[in-house]
Amino acid sequence: MKNRLLHTPEGVRDIYGEELERKELLENRLKSLIKSYGYKEIETPSFEYFDIFSKDTGITSSREVYKFFDRENNTLALRPDFTPGVARAAVKYFFEDEDPKRLCYLGKTFSNHSGLQGKLKEVTELGLEYLGEPSSDADAEMINIAVELLKDAGLTDFQICVGNAEYFKGLCEGAGLDADTVAELSENIRNKNYFGTLDALNDVDAPDSIKSTLRSFPDFFGNIEILDEAQKKVKGIKRSEDAVKRLKELYDRLKIYGVQDYITFDLGMLSKHDYYTGVIFRAYTFGTGDAIIRGGRYDKLLKNFGRDKAAVGFTLIIDQLLSTLKRQNIEGEAGKEEAYIYYDSVSFEAALKKATELRAKGIYTAMTRLNDGIKPSGTHKGSGNSLVIYFSDGKEKKI
């Protein structure tokens, strides 16, 4: 069957016409917003050595990375996310001085997750990294940009949920829990599984005060007030106390930015991986089942490439944002004006003159020769206003 040649594999798709135009407009708007904060764009290769995306440096499990071999039999990988590649490049090129670096990127990422789940395997991500600045001012700048991006895209009803993995880690350290118990607890807390958390704590030998705090994780979720409660519960555990203090500091900064209304806190928002080292945040809105922005601090990442530098960043999945906008019936920017000029064999010169005029005005203009007796189908309507002009016998004609 030749039909096979017409199909794309599962998880990838063609984007064209009005949709692509909307996508490009959105991408450019959001990218220039990021650039207005002084971020410089970087392009890293679509594939790199697999080691760049290994367990210590990436968040995608090795099973979900597309891998292949080069002629020397090195294992290569299609990038499942941008951060490791950008970090590698930053260490290589930019850290000749100690100034913090601001980088942003836009491009496709690939993940080979199991099929038939209605999820794309190739998506466009827009993201940024703020490298070499450990303070909460950097965290605040990130979260503020995240809010600005979503507002600029047209969303009004969304939330940025902020957590700090250090809080939980401090408690586990204080209780002297072993790695297996920590993994089990972390999974239950991450899934908001209250009963599972209680079960996991049943046979644990730890001070009662810490156990009761671990039990109260479901309450550490809400507005700024929850931080006071959470702070009281960890008196004396410095790592956890510092984690709350850091979030409060961050909140104060966000108030100065004026974006505090979009912020909620969740100390139970833990990452599956050891990748995030401090503040972690996600943006949620209706219309997708999942977060549309994911980010946080990964201060250990750059060390893998040889420079011990702080790092914070986030990534936004453009495809998800577009489908959210569509579901929430938010109109994007209208496309450019377009014109279609049809001419017969003797009207070429007149038609070209008109087309050149229109193009000079910034109107996208297509010229098509009408062969005798064939009428244009009129089906190629673009977005925005499209203009159709006919030329016959050297003259412009209205139809």
Partner: protein, 211 residues
């Protein structure tokens, strides 16, 4: 106000869930009419919607946000392994996930030798044997009547749900090991949990309060 949508597992689990919800003051009269052919049932006053789905599909609806809240068995939640919040043990639909077989098969589980396991739950079986018992196994996926497998010689043991154990007993099979206890769980979509935090936490609290 936005509608909150519930995805319930068709059958006994849905009935029990509605019973329990009723105790917290959440009702859906439309759903009690068993002859109704409607697919979506609405409680206009509280702005709630309900629909029934096949068990394994409930986590899928919830993960994608097509339903805010779902109720399904722990077995299905484990097998589907979706990115959803599992917020509540509803306490009914209790049973166990077990490794079963002829009594002689017990010996096979005591060592690390390769055995054949028939199951409807390949992920649960693999996780149990690989990560808990460190035993390499050959998993055979079946879709029902799992008990047949060891009897007709398709597999050495099975990994399946055991409620009373009477089917096993009648066929000379027995529970060899327990994988984990199961019951009905309430699951919530990640986005809904945050965007509708107040309403959903209200429902969770109310359900926690009734036995």
């Amino acid at each position: 106000m936005r509608y909150l949508t519930f995805a319930l597992t068709k059958g006994r689990l849905a009935d029990k869930t509605l019973e329990k919800l009723e105790k917290t003051g959440i009702t859906c009269e439309e759903m009690k009419d068993k002859s109704s052919r409607k697919l979506i049932f609405v409680n206009e006053e509280k702005k709630l919607k309900f629909f029934l789905a096949k068990g394994p599909d409930v986590p899928t609806y919830v993960e994608h946000g097509a339903a805010d809240i779902g109720v399904s068995g722990k077995d299905i939640i484990m097998e589907e392994n979706r990115a959803i919040y599992e917020v509540l043990d509803l306490g009914f639909g209790k049973c166990r996930m077990c490794i079963c077989g002829f009594p002689e098969a017990k010996e096979l589980l005591a060592h690390h030798e390769m055995i054949k396991v028939a199951t409807k739950y390949p992920r649960i079986a693999r996780d149990y044997f690989h990560n808990k018992k460190h035993q390499t196994v050959d998993i055979i996926k079946l879709n029902g009547s799992i008990e047949l497998a060891p009897i007709v010689g398709l597999s050495d043991v099975i990994c399946d749900i055991v409620e009373t154990g009477s089917t096993l007993k009648e066929n000379g099979l027995t529970v060899l090991e327990e994988v984990c206890p199961l019951s009905a769980r309430m699951v919530v979509n990640q986005v809904s949990m945050r965007m509708e935090a107040e309403r959903i936490r209200g429902i969770i609290e109310a359900l926690r309060g009734v036995s």
